[in-house]
């Protein structure tokens, strides 16, 4: 099976691997999984006081497509505000990486992970105000 150059780039040289302090008020964490293939994806965003995502990190256990999807979405959300980041669709990820149909769920996982991270951040910061 031929994978796209974009996918291989992100898989062989993933961007933003790592983690941030999940207790920090600036950090939102999203943790989602796909039980059928054993994938677990943790995605974290760091938001500055202007509501812009300053940094993003991920840790993913899963197939190459899941890793590439996480790597790509962490790149995309940096510099975006929360609404912009929330509106990223899995189809954009799937198209960019040219994911084969059986791997579309990996891009859904990435979309769900970023949404979960944003929700987590909002929940934390609502409490404190």
């Amino acid at each position: 099976m031929a994978y796209s150059k974009e996918l291989l780039d992100h898989y062989e040289n993933p961007k933003n691997v790592g983690s941030m302090d999940k207790e920090s008020e600036q950090v939102g964490t999203g943790l989602v999984g796909a039980p059928a293939c054993g994938d677990v994806m943790k995605l974290q965003i760091k938001v500055n006081n202007k509501g812009v995502i300053e940094d993003a990190k991920f840790k993913t256990f899963g197939c190459g497509s899941a890793i590439a999807s996480s790597s790509l979405i962490t790149e995309w959300v940096k510099g975006k505000n929360l609404d912009e980041a929330h509106s990223i669709k899995n189809t954009e990820i799937a198209n960019h990486l040219a994911l084969p149909p059986v791997k579309i769920h990996c891009s859904i996982l990435a979309e769900d992970a970023i949404k979960a991270a944003i929700d987590d951040y909002k929940k934390k910061n609502r409490k404190n105000r």
């Binding site: 943790l31 796909a34 039980p35 054993g38 677990v40």
Partner: protein, 194 residues
């Protein structure tokens, strides 16, 4: 669709859960039937696998395509379809994970679907920890140890799953079944790396 079916050959009524006409003994087309009813075994998680195997062999003997090869095209087709339906059902009931999914569905519980992300942080964090520990294992001895730990966790989860079915706690059973499918998937991945 609730009209009870009749035999294509002699028009007598075909009782539910059977695939042979009781009057003319002709093979009948497959119809939707749950896996437990197909084999006529009790609907429970702690299945007697030997009982399942005996029921499976009995059905395969009745409907195996070899038995029908000299008969009409229609009968050959029915036996091929029935035989693969029986095989598939046997595979599903043999695996604890798919057996649990079937039971959840039969009890009206919509178990996790594939195009839906799972977001129980407690289970996911536990799975991540296990993965991290294995990655950090420095030598084969440590890797083997973490597989042994994983084995213990799998049997614990199986036991809790069985208990939750006995108590009819389907919400809990669903969560445990997802955890079990993660653990088993990870075990395969780990063993590949030994």
């Amino acid at each position: 669709m609730s009209v009870s079916p009749v035999c294509w050959n002699c028009q007598s009524a075909i009782p539910p859960n059977t695939f042979l006409c009781q009057k003319c003994n002709k093979i009948q087309p497959p119809k939707k039937i749950d896996e437990f009813k197909l084999f006529g075994i009790p609907e429970k998680f702690d299945l007697d696998l030997e009982e399942l195997e005996i029921a499976y062999l009995k059905l395969q003997r009745l409907f195996h395509p070899d038995k029908y090869s000299q008969l009409s095209d229609q009968e050959i087709k029915y036996s091929t379809l029935l035989s693969s339906m029986i095989n598939e059902a046997y595979q599903k009931l043999s695996s604890s994970i798919s057996r649990a999914s079937i039971l959840l569905k039969l009890n009206g519980f919509n178990s996790h679907s594939e195009d839906q992300s799972f977001n129980d942080p407690e289970v996911l964090e536990e799975i991540m920890d296990i993965q991290n520990n294995f990655l950090e294992a420095e030598n084969p001895e440590q890797k083997k140890n973490s597989i042994q730990k994983l084995n213990r966790k799998i049997s614990e989860t199986m036991n809790s799953l069985s208990t939750s079915f006995k108590k009819k706690e389907y919400e809990v059973a669903n969560r445990l079944n997802i955890k079990l499918s993660y653990l088993k998937k990870i075990r395969i991945d780990f063993k590949k790396q030994l």
